[in-house]
């Protein structure tokens, strides 16, 4: 056994430094992407089960125990389906669009910390990077709608683009409040600024911002009740009507990867990330000190993910003009007012959140 490790170490040192760097980065990418893809697969399963439960049915339970192999079966099915390119579609853009959609959804994970130190790129402008990268996703949607040469797809893409751009502003203001309160744009530092106890988490002092942020995030990811971009009952499936097989699956993966990303960001920014909820409570803190931080983070991500599904099972779709009104005339004023209040609180060094 020891000799095996020695051989491996020898081979490692024999590699040039450039190759070592590339291999390490590749390993990091795989370590994030594979669990993420599995998470996406089982998020779709959870969605069907949760919505089923809320409609007093069971949901998929036939493939494997409790239907646990259902997402695998769906994936295999999509993998073997034909990819149909519409006549007069622009093939280059048609194939480029899914890639442009999923690339930002995966790239944003580079700066997400899972525990102190567990982050691929611990850059100081983490939050700005996330904002910039996730904004890129709208190109995929627009190009998909344009390249399909279909009116439904084009309408869906137009709606989706307008909606994403509108809510980006409200979301940006909400995030500015957080980083003013935390005094940093580095995601690890933002989590560390919430240390102390569960009452120190930003969800309490920034409660309206938290609500606005999460609703904007639902709109950003084109999920119910803001899913006019897909609008099954109006424009069939929106921007990805013409996509089939794996190209459709890639859009699907990107949507769910974005949802998980938003859940993770919400947990990091507002719910104290990997910090234990029992921090600062005598007795309980020691009792749960053996739990690694990443478990708390996953628990919070799952809670936020459940919120997504809960919303989808509860709310009917917004009308398009109401979505625009909500974004521009309600959320942006609220976030601006609260931003001023938060800034004042930080200047006044209000304990214990803003000191």
């Amino acid at each position: 056994m020891d000799s095996l490790i020695e051989i491996f170490l020898g081979m490692w040192q024999w590699l040039p430094v450039a190759a070592q760097t590339v291999l390490v980065i590749l390993a990091q990418i795989i370590a994030i992407t594979i669990p993420l893809m599995l998470g996406v697969a089982y998020f779709t399963y959870a969605e069907r089960r949760v919505i089923g439960s809320m409609q007093v049915r069971i949901g998929p339970n036939r493939v494997g125990y409790f239907g646990l192999l259902q997402p695998i079966a769906d994936g295999v099915k999509l993998f073997f389906k034909e990819i149909v390119v519409p006549v007069k579609a622009n093939p280059l853009l048609f194939y480029l669009a899914p890639v442009l959609t999923i690339a930002p959804a995966l790239a944003a994970w580079a700066v997400v910390p899972f525990q102190p130190g567990w982050v691929v790129a611990d850059i100081n402008l983490g939050l700005l990077y996330v904002l910039a990268i996730t904004s890129m996703g709208v190109y995929g949607v627009i190009i998909a709608g344009w390249a399909s040469n279909s009116r439904y797809a084009f309408l869906g893409a137009m709606r989706s683009a307008a909606q994403i751009i509108s809510y980006e502003i409200a979301m940006g203001f909400a995030l500015i409040s957080v980083l003013v309160a935390a005094g940093s744009i580095n995601l690890t530092d933002i989590v560390m600024a919430q240390q102390g106890s569960a009452a120190h988490w930003f969800v309490l002092p920034l409660l309206p911002i938290f609500v606005v942020y999460f609703i904007s995030a639902v709109a950003e990811t084109n999920r119910a009740p803001f899913d006019v971009a897909e609008g099954e009952s109006e424009i069939v499936a929106g921007f990805h009507v013409e996509y089939s097989g794996m190209t459709f699956a890639v859009f699907f993966l990107a949507e769910y990867a974005n949802m998980i990303l938003i859940c993770t960001l919400t947990s990091l920014l507002f719910l104290g990330g990997w910090l234990s909820p029992f921090e600062g409570i005598p007795g309980l803190e020691a009792l749960f000190s053996w739990v690694p931080g990443i478990v708390w983070l996953f628990t919070k991500i799952l809670m936020m993910g459940f919120m997504y599904l809960w919303f989808r099972a509860t709310f009917p779709r917004y009308r398009y003009d109401q979505i625009m009104r909500l974004g521009w005339k309600v959320f942006i004023p609220i976030t601006i007012v609260w931003l001023v209040l938060v800034a004042a609180a930080v200047v006044a060094e209000l304990p214990w959140w803003f000191d």
């Binding site: 809320m54 007093v56 069971i58 509860t314």
Partner: protein, 162 residues
């Protein structure tokens, strides 16, 4: 004043929270799904499924070829030919039901003076050939023989209302 209250209420998302509470309540309710092949929904004794021809306990077929069922059938699904048997009784030589025509109204059963043609509670049948839903006399008699106890029990249960 009213406007201010309305704005405040909508900002507090009260109605949305009420909706969320409702769906959460349903989330924990026992599920109503019937898992079909293993479980089946209860069925009335009056259910009108696949047809059958019955016999008397001594084995003699009930049908006397009066053709009332053929006459009453609104879908013209029943075809009957009859002849005198050696013992002088009037019997069918052909009793066909075209299930692809039948609308399962049960008039044939209502019309039958000897309770011969009945609609049973059997529903799990299908056809894989063009004429697979064309049931002849022997098939209907066999089906009646197979289900006789259930058919008799169902008719007994319903006798007070007929």
């Amino acid at each position: 004043m009213n406007t201010a209250v309305r704005y405040l209420r909508s900002l507090l998302l009260l109605e949305l929270l009420a909706g969320l509470a409702l769906t959460l309540k349903h989330f924990f309710r026992p599920k109503v799904t019937v898992q079909f092949p293993e479980e089946q929904t209860p069925m009335s004794n009056r259910f009108r499924g696949l047809h059958a021809l019955r016999r008397y306990p001594n084995g003699e077929e009930r049908c006397i070829a009066c053709k009332l069922c053929e006459a009453v059938c609104p879908a013209l699904a029943i075809t009957i030919d009859s002849e005198e048997r050696e013992d002088g009784t009037r019997r069918t030589t052909k009793y066909d039901v075209d299930l692809s025509k039948c609308i399962y109204c049960g008039f044939c059963e209502e019309a039958c003076p000897v309770d011969s043609i009945v609609l049973t509670r059997h529903i799990h049948y299908h056809a894989e050939e063009r004429n697979g839903l064309h049931y002849d006399k022997q098939m209907l008699l066999d089906h009646g023989d197979a289900l006789e106890t259930q058919i008799a029990a169902d008719r007994e249960q319903d006798s007070a209302f007929r």
